[in-house]
Symmetry: C2
Subunit: 103 residues, 2 copies
DNA sequence: CACTACCGTAAGCACACACTTACCGTAAGG
DNA sequence: CCTTACGGTAAGTGTGTGCTTACGGTAGTG
């Protein structure tokens, strides 16, 4: 579960549709597929990618599987953004300091 | 410049390497390609995608082109995360309220 | 025990895309 | 000018991947 997996998971439009649909409420695979222009196995494969990226989790309810949003995936994304900005600012400050001390 | 473009732009490892390399300081195309296992045209194509996604900008310096980090791309990403969470929380609260009022 | 509902997996296909080499345009420097 | 440095673009290639249909496997139901 790396941020690379999160990026490539959310890069696909269909996968984003699935993910954003789960934002409203937990749904089953067939339920998700019914609102999309692709087949049920396709949705199943997308869910596998999303699960691997830590974006969703599954829960067995009888013969169905209820998929819900998982926090860790987006958490990894947010951490990536935060460290990216702080590193960029640090590098920027260092570059300025170097330029003013040795002109 | 949508968050979809940002996601697919950062989904590629080589493109992330380019992007994260620019976090340290602005660099030219040949400079970036020198630190990567791919050819210069490949880097040039990656930079086009990153530019289209609002993640980098170019500045002409003589015959060279200095690429730097652009804020708008990651800004769009952060907005996406924020609205996603707030929408998810709203939907969750509504679901709870509905369940407690009509059991 | 059937029978149905639900879903994951396998196999195959068509397209996208990340690369390459080759080429051309533009700016600096003799 | 001519030459060199730098980089964007074109065309072609191979792998990855998003999709399909077909199948098998498990949990409820009569």
């Amino acid at each position: 579960m790396t941020y690379g997996e999160v990026f490539s998971a959310l890069a696909d439009p269909t996968r984003r549709s699935v993910f954003e649909s789960l934002r409203e409420e937990p749904r089953s695979v067939g339920d998700l597929a019914a609102g999309l222009p692709v087949s049920r196995p396709a949705v199943s494969q997308h869910l596998r990618v999303l699960e691997q990226a830590g974006l969703v989790t599954a829960e067995r309810v009888g013969t169905r599987r209820l998929y819900s949003i998982e926090r860790s995936g987006l958490h990894a994304l947010r951490d990536y953004l935060d460290t990216f900005w702080s590193d960029a600012l640090t590098a920027y400050a260092a570059r300025i300091a170097e330029r003013t001390s040795t002109p």
